[in-house]
C-alpha cells in the first residue's frame, strides 16, 4: 500500500513531521512502513509557462521554435522537438542553469543553428513518469510563472506500507484510514474529505433512483448507484495525474481516474459504467451460472462458475463484481452520462473468484479484506463531488440508488480496564485507555465498575475488532508499547529433558558426525520424476505437490537415496572419497483418505570412492557396515542382526530399494525389526546419477529403536571372575554362508561355556575348495563358577567342533585352548 505524504497532510495536521518521521510514527503505532521514496523532487527552477507562438525551425523539419511566456514580461524562444506543442498551452519550462531530475543541466546552446535558452519539458525529463511522447501540458487555468512544484503539489514522498501488516485492516487501504491513525498518534483532529455539493445535489435530484436489484444478499451487502449526466470525459488535470502516478496508478481518463482517486482516498473500490451502455435501465446483482462467460476490460474472455458474482444490466453481465468490469460497458472518451457503482461485496466470494481466475486487482484485494458497508455511500458521494468539481456541466440527475438490505449492526465490545494492564504488563490509566480508543473512533457507550463499553466504528467492525483483547491492542499501540518492563514468568521448577526420540536423534547425529566422520548435509524433501525413474520408482505412488515449483521437485521423497546420490555427483570431482549423511523424513501416502500420512524419520548415509578401489574386496561397503554397527552400539540397539538384504522395505509404505548391488546389500534388524538397509549402489543406478567408482548408501529408521523400548544396549555383564581361555577355530563353509550363522552355531554349541565368539579372518582361494571360504573365529571359553579346567575346556572345544561338523562344514584347524 502506497501513501502520498502530501495527501495525508491535507487530512490532518502533520506540520511538525517529516515524511520519515511520519513513517516511523506509523511503524510504531500502526503498521510497518518499509520505505519512503521521494516523488517529484528536483524540480527547483522549473516554472510554468504559456506558449505564445510556435514557428518552424529553419534548419530542421522536426524541430520548432516555441515562444514561452514565463510571467517575467520577456518571452523566450527555445527549440522544441515535441509534436504536441501548441499555442495557448501551459507548459513546464526549465530555463538556462536549471538541473533536471534526470541530471541534465540546461545551458544556452545552438541547436541546428538556432540558439535555445531553456527547454519545454516532457514527463520523463521531470522524473514524473516515463512518457516521452510529447511535452507535459498543464491545465489551462494554471497560473503562469509559478514554480512547477507548487502547480503540481510537489515534491511529495511516497510511504510504502507492508501489505501483510494491514491484511486485517479494511480501513487502511485508503488514505483516510492512515490519516486517522496519524491524527490519533499526534493528537490532532482528522479532516476527512467531504462532499457538500454532492450531498446537497442528491437531496434535490428530480428523477427516481436507478433501479437496482440484489438477488444474492449474502454476496452483496450494499449497492449504491449514482447517476451523473452532462459529464465530459478526457485527460485528467495534471495534479490528479501526478497524485495517481505517485501511487503507481496509471492515469486513464478523468472518469476512471476519479474512481481510482476515491479508492485511494477512501479505500472503497468504485466502478463507473457508461450509462449509454445500459439501455435496459436496471442493475441486477446475481451469481454466475455454470458455463457463463464474460469478457473483462483486459480483453480476456473468462469462464465463470456458480459462486462468482456478476453485475448485470437486466440479465447481461456488465461486470465481474468486485474484480473487473466488462469490456463493453466501461466509460470512454465519448461518455456523457455515468452510473457510478459503490458496493460492498462478500470478502470470501470476491477472493475465491479473483484467486481462481488469477485476476488480483486493486479492487479485489480491497474487497477481500471485508470492507465497511457504511463507507460505500461516502465514497459514491465523494466521486460525485469530484465530478461536479471537474466537469462544469455535470449534474446529479437521479436520486441515489442505495440497496442495503441488512444495515450493519452496531458492534459493542466491553472490556475491564484492568485487562489492558494485565495483558500488556504496562501501567496505563483508565483515562489514557479511554482517550486512545476515542481518538481511533471508538464511541464510548458506558463506563462503569472499572469497565468500558464502546461501539466499534463501522470501518473496524467487519472482522478486525470484536474482542476485549482487540481493544487491548488499540490502547497498547497508541502507547507504542513503550515502557514494557520485562518480567520473568513464574513457574514451579521441574527438570525438563528432551523426549526419548529427541535424545536418540541427538545421539545419532553426534555419533555419525563426530565419531564416524560423516559430514552432515540437508536436502529438500522433494524429488521429481527423473530421479524417481533412475531409482526404479517411476511407477510407485508418491504424495504429489499439486503445484510444483519445478519439475524436479514434484513429490515427497520415499527415500533419501536421490538426495544423497545427487550430493555425491556434485562433490565427487573435488572430493574423490567422502562420507555424508542427512536427516530427513520420508512420507509415504496415507492408506486412507482423511488421515495424515505416517512420516518416517530417517538418517541417510552415503560413502563414495571415485577410484572404486577394491583392496580388500568390498572395502567401502564393509566400512559402512562397520559404521552402522558402531552407530547402533552407541544407540544401544538390542540384539542386532545383519543379513543379506532381500528386497524388504525400511518401513511400511516405503518401497524396497531396487538400487543395491545384488551381492552387497544388507538388512539390519534389532529384535527382529528392520532398522536399517545398506548396500553398494548398483552400477546402472550409479551411471544414471553420473557417479564414478563406487558408492554405498544406507538408510536408518532410528525411530524403530524407540518402539523396541530399551535403547540401553545389551545390558551390563560383570567381568569374568575366573580366568578365561581363548582358542581359534577355522571352518570351511559354502561361500555365501553368513558368518553370523556360523558364529551362532558356535555360540549355541555350549551356551553356558562360551562367552564370546569373534570373527577374525576370512579367506578364499588356494588351499580350500572352490565355492567355499574359510572363516576363523576366536572363541572365549569360561566357567562362571570356577577356573576353567583343561578337561572342561577340551570338552567345549569338542562340542564346538561337533556342532560345526554336524552342519556339514569342515573344521580346518582348531588350536588347543590357551
Amino acid at each position: 500500500m502506497k501513501l502520498s505524504w502530501r495527501w495525508l497532510s491535507e487530512m490532518t495536521d502533520l506540520s511538525g513531521l517529516s515524511p520519515e518521521q511520519g513513517a516511523e510514527t506509523l511503524t510504531f503505532h500502526t503498521a510497518e512502513v518499509e520505505g519512503v521514496v521521494p516523488y517529484g523532487t528536483g524540480l527547483d527552477g522549473v516554472v510554468t509557462g504559456r506558449v505564445l507562438g510556435v514557428r518552424p525551425h529553419p534548419q530542421a523539419d522536426r524541430l520548432r521554435l516555441v515562444t514561452v511566456d514565463t510571467g517575467g514580461g520577456s518571452p523566450r524562444e527555445v527549440v522544441c522537438g515535441a509534436p504536441n506543442v501548441a499555442v495557448g498551452q501551459v507548459i513546464c519550462f526549465a530555463p538556462e542553469g536549471v538541473t533536471l531530475p534526470n541530471g541534465l543541466t540546461l545551458t544556452r546552446r545552438k541547436i541546428r543553428g538556432v540558439e535555445s535558452a531553456g527547454m519545454v519539458c516532457a514527463e520523463d525529463e521531470l522524473g514524473l513518469g516515463t512518457d516521452h511522447e510529447g511535452i507535459l501540458v498543464l491545465p489551462a487555468s494554471t497560473p503562469v510563472g509559478i514554480p512547477l512544484g507548487d502547480a503540481l503539489r510537489l515534491p511529495d514522498a511516497v510511504l510504502e506500507v507492508s501489505n501483510t501488516a494491514i491484511t486485517h485492516r479494511p480501513d487502511l487501504w485508503g488514505h483516510v484510514g492512515f490519516a486517522r491513525e496519524l491524527a490519533a498518534a499526534v493528537g490532532k483532529p482528522l479532516r476527512a474529505p467531504q462532499a457538500p455539493r454532492a450531498a446537497a445535489s442528491v437531496a434535490i435530484a428530480p428523477e427516481p433512483a436507478f433501479p437496482v436489484e440484489i438477488r444474492d444478499e449474502a454476496a452483496c451487502r450494499r449497492y449504491v448507484g449514482v447517476v451523473l449526466e452532462g459529464v465530459t470525459n478526457g485527460p485528467s488535470p495534471e495534479p490528479i495525474r501526478r497524485r495517481l502516478e505517485a501511487l503507481g496508478q496509471r492515469s486513464i481518463d478523468l472518469l476512471v481516474d476519479l474512481t481510482n482517486l476515491v479508492m485511494w482516498e477512501q479505500g472503497q473500490p468504485l466502478h463507473a459504467f457508461d450509462l449509454a451502455s445500459l439501455p435496459e435501465g436496471r442493475i441486477v446483482v446475481r451469481g454466475a451460472r455454470a458455463g457463463e462467460t464474460i469478457e473483462t476490460l483486459d480483453g480476456v474472455r473468462r469462464s465463470l462458475e456458480p459462486g462468482d458474482l456478476l453485475i448485470c444490466a437486466d440479465d447481461r453481465p456488465v461486470a465481474l463484481a468486485g474484480v473487473m468490469g466488462a469490456v463493453a460497458s466501461g466509460v470512454g472518451p465519448g461518455t456523457t452520462a455515468v452510473l457510478l457503482e459503490s458496493a460492498c461485496f462478500d470478502a470470501s466470494r470476491i477472493r475465491r473468484t479473483a484467486s481462481r481466475l488469477a485476476l488480483r486487482t486493486e479492487a479485489s484485494s480491497r474487497f477481500e479484506k471485508s470492507l465497511d458497508p457504511e463507507g460505500a455511500l461516502t465514497a459514491a458521494l465523494r466521486f460525485a463531488e469530484l465530478v461536479l468539481e471537474h466537469c462544469p456541466g455535470a449534474r446529479i440527475a437521479r436520486r441515489v440508488s442505495d440497496v442495503y438490505p441488512r444495515p450493519y449492526p452496531t458492534l459493542e465490545v466491553e472490556m475491564p480496564y484492568e485487562l489492558v494492564r494485565k495483558r500488556l504488563g504496562l501501567r496505563i490509566s483508565d483515562g489514557e485507555a479511554k482517550a486512545s480508543l476515542a481518538a481511533l473512533g471508538f464511541r464510548l457507550l458506558r463506563e462503569e465498575h472499572h469497565r468500558i463499553a464502546v461501539a466499534v466504528p463501522s470501518w473496524r467492525a467487519t472482522k478486525d475488532v470484536s474482542l476485549p483483547e482487540d481493544l487491548v491492542e488499540e490502547v497498547g499501540r497508541m502507547r507504542r508499547y513503550e515502557g514494557v518492563t520485562a518480567v520473568s514468568p513464574l513457574r514451579p521448577m521441574a527438570p525438563v529433558l528432551p523426549s526419548a526420540a529427541r535424545r536418540l536423534e541427538r545421539r545419532l547425529a553426534t555419533t555419525l558426525t563426530l565419531d564416524l566422520g560423516y559430514v552432515e548435509t540437508l536436502a529438500h524433501a522433494f524429488y521429481g520424476p527423473r530421479e524417481a525413474e533412475r531409482l526404479g520408482l517411476g511407477d510407485v505412488a508418491h504424495l504429489r505437490l499439486l503445484h510444483p515449483l519445478s519439475e524436479d521437485q514434484d513429490r515427497l521423497a520415499l527415500t533419501s537415496a536421490a538426495a544423497l546420490l545427487r550430493c555425491v555427483a556434485r562433490n565427487q570431482a573435488e572430493t574423490p572419497r567422502g562420507r555424508i549423511w542427512l536427516a530427513t523424513r520420508l512420507v509415504p501416502p496415507a492408506p486412507g483418505a482423511g488421515t495424515l500420512p505416517c512420516e518416517v524419520p530417517v538418517a541417510g548415509l552415503v560413502a563414495w570412492d571415485r577410484t572404486g578401489t577394491e583392496t580388500p574386496p568390498g572395502r567401502l561397503f564393509r566400512g559402512v557396515l562397520g559404521d552402522l554397527r558402531a552407530l547402533f552400539g552407541r544407540l544401544g540397539a538390542p540384539a542386532l542382526e545383519v543379513a543379506d538384504h532381500e528386497g524388504e522395505a525400511l518401513a511400511d509404505g516405503l518401497p524396497g530399494p531396487g538400487w543395491f548391488h545384488p551381492g552387497r546389500r544388507a538388512t539390519f534388524r534389532a529384535a527382529g525389526r528392520v532398522i536399517a538397509l545398506a548396500g553398494e549402489v548398483a552400477p546402472a543406478t550409479g551411471r544414471a546419477f553420473g557417479l564414478e567408482g563406487r558408492a554405498i548408501l544406507a538408510e536408518v529408521a532410528w525411530e524403530n529403536l524407540l518402539a523396541l523400548g530399551a535403547c540401553e544396549g545389551p545390558g551390563y555383564r560383570p567381568p569374568p571372575r575366573f580366568p578365561v581361555a581363548t582358542f581359534d577355530i577355522a571352518v570351511v563353509v559354502p561361500r555365501r554362508t553368513p558368518a553370523a550363522v556360523v558364529a551362532r552355531t558356535i555360540g549355541q554349541a555350549a551356551p553356558e561355556g562360551i562367552r564370546d565368539v569373534d570373527l577374525f579372518d576370512e579367506y578364499e582361494g588356494a588351499g580350500i575348495p572352490e565355492g567355499t571360504r574359510s572363516l576363523a573365529f576366536t572363541c572365549v571359553l569360561y566357567d562362571p563358577a570356577a577356573t576353567l579346567s583343561p578337561e572342561r575346556s577340551e570338552a567345549l572345544r569338542l562340542a564346538i567342533r561337533g556342532a560345526l561338523e554336524a552342519r556339514g562344514w569342515a573344521v580346518r584347524a582348531g588350536d588347543a585352548p590357551r
Binding site: E469, S488, L497, R502, L522, E574, L596
Partner: protein
C-alpha cells in the same frame, strides 16, 4: 697377587672405559657394556674364577676386578647421560614439526550449521524450562490454518504460500500448528518449543527457500502478559546473539495472536527484524480446547536459517540445502555430545 693378573684387569678396565667413552649412541654404549661386561667377557670370567685362585690372592683380585666393573658401569651411565643430554639439546631441530601444516589432511566431519543453531536454541529453551515438541510435516488445513484463526478465504493465507498435496493435506507453512497439537495433547500450563522444517510455495532466491526451519515457542499459563513475553524473548536472544542485545516491539499482524508484534533486536549496532510474536489469540486457545477466560499465553516464531545466516555471515540461504562440501566443511563448530 700376581702381576700378570693385575695388569690384565687394568688393561681390561681401560679398554672397556675407552669403548664406553667412545660410544656415539646409547645402543653403542649398551653394545660396549655387553662386550666388556657380558657373560662371555673376560672381566666377569675373572670374577667367576676367584674361587680357583690361591686364597691369598682372592681378596685383592676380587676387589680389583670389582672396582674395574663398577668403574666401567659408572662410565657407561655417565656416557648414556651425556648422550641423552646431547640428543635432547638437538631435539628442536631434529624433531621439529611444522605446526602450520594441517593434519590430518582431511578435515573432521562437521555438523550442519542449521543443526548447530537448532541444538543451541534447544539448549537455551530447555534451560528455561520449555519442553521440546514436534509435529508432522504434512498437516491438515485445520491445524495449519483454521485453528490458528485463519479461516478459508482469509486474506492472511496470502502470507503463507502453501504447497498443497495430492491427498488434500498440505505441507506445514509454519511451526505454529504445534501450538494446537500441544494444547490438544495436554492441559495448561504449557511451555514448549517446536523447532523444525517448514515449507513455502515460493520461488527460491538468495533470501528465500521453499524448505526452511522455524522455531516456534509458546507459553500458556495464568495471567501471561506482554511483559513476560518480552522477558523470555529478550533472554533467548541474548543467549543466542550476545548479552548486549536490546529488543523493541512494533505492532504487527499475525492472525493467531492478539495483540501481535514484530520484535526487533539491536545486533552489532543494527536493528534487525527477528521474530513475530504476540499474546495467543483467544480463538486459538479455544480451538486448542483451552478456556480463554482462565488461561492466556504468548507465542512467537523465528527463522532458524536466518539466525544461522546472521551468526556466520552466510550470504545465500540456498547453501543450506545444496549439499556442497565446500560449504558444509567450514562449520567446524559443533554440538555437545
Amino acid at each position: 697377587m700376581s702381576t700378570p693378573l693385575r695388569d690384565e684387569i687394568a688393561a681390561l678396565e681401560s679398554a672397556a672405559l675407552a669403548a664406553v667413552r667412545a660410544a656415539g649412541a646409547p645402543e653403542a654404549v649398551e653394545a660396549a657394556l655387553a662386550q666388556h661386561l657380558g657373560r662371555k667377557a673376560r672381566l666377569p670370567e675373572i670374577l667367576r674364577s676367584i674361587a680357583t685362585l690361591p686364597p691369598d690372592q682372592r681378596g685383592e683380585v676380587g676387589r680389583g676386578a670389582n672396582r674395574a666393573k663398577v668403574a666401567v658401569e659408572a662410565a657407561a651411565r655417565e656416557r648414556l647421560e651425556a648422550l641423552r643430554a646431547a640428543g635432547e639439546a638437538a631435539l628442536a631441530d631434529r624433531e621439529w614439526v611444522d605446526a602450520s601444516a594441517p593434519w590430518p589432511l582431511a578435515p573432521r566431519a562437521t555438523v550442519h550449521p542449521i543443526r548447530q543453531m537448532v541444538r543451541e536454541l534447544e539448549d537455551v529453551f530447555l534451560g528455561m524450562g520449555f519442553h521440546l515438541l514436534d509435529g508432522p510435516w504434512v498437516e491438515d488445513d485445520r491445524h495449519n490454518f483454521g485453528a490458528l484463526n485463519i479461516p478459508p478465504d482469509h486474506p492472511a493465507r496470502d502470507m503463507h504460500d502453501t504447497f498443497w498435496l495430492s491427498d488434500g493435506n498440505l505441507l506445514r507453512t509454519h511451526t505454529s500448528p504445534v501450538q494446537i497439537r500441544a494444547m490438544e495433547a495436554g492441559a495448561p500450563p504449557i511451555r514448549a518449543v517446536a523447532i523444525g522444517r517448514v515449507f513455502r510455495h515460493e520461488e527460491v532466491d538468495a533470501t528465500h527457500e521453499n524448505n526452511f526451519h522455524q522455531v516456534e515457542g509458546f507459553l500458556v499459563d495464568r495471567d501471561v502478559s506482554v511483559a513476560h513475553m518480552v522477558s523470555v524473548l529478550r533472554d533467548v536472544l541474548r543467549a543466542v546473539l550476545g548479552p548486549e542485545v536490546e529488543v523493541r516491539l512494533r505492532p504487527s499482524y499475525f492472525p493467531f495472536v492478539e495483540p501481535g508484534f514484530e520484535m526487533d533486536a539491536k545486533f552489532r549496532g543494527r536493528w534487525l527484524e527477528l521474530l513475530g510474536c504476540g499474546l495467543v489469540h483467544p480463538r486459538v486457545l479455544a480451538a486448542g480446547g483451552v478456556a480463554p477466560g482462565t488461561w492466556s499465553g504468548f507465542a512467537f516464531g523465528m527463522g532458524v536459517d536466518r539466525l544461522a545466516m546472521l551468526r556466520h555471515g552466510i550470504e545465500d540461504v540456498r547453501h543450506f540445502l545444496a549439499g556442497d562440501l565446500r560449504f558444509l566443511r567450514q562449520f567446524q563448530g559443533g554440538v555437545e555430545s
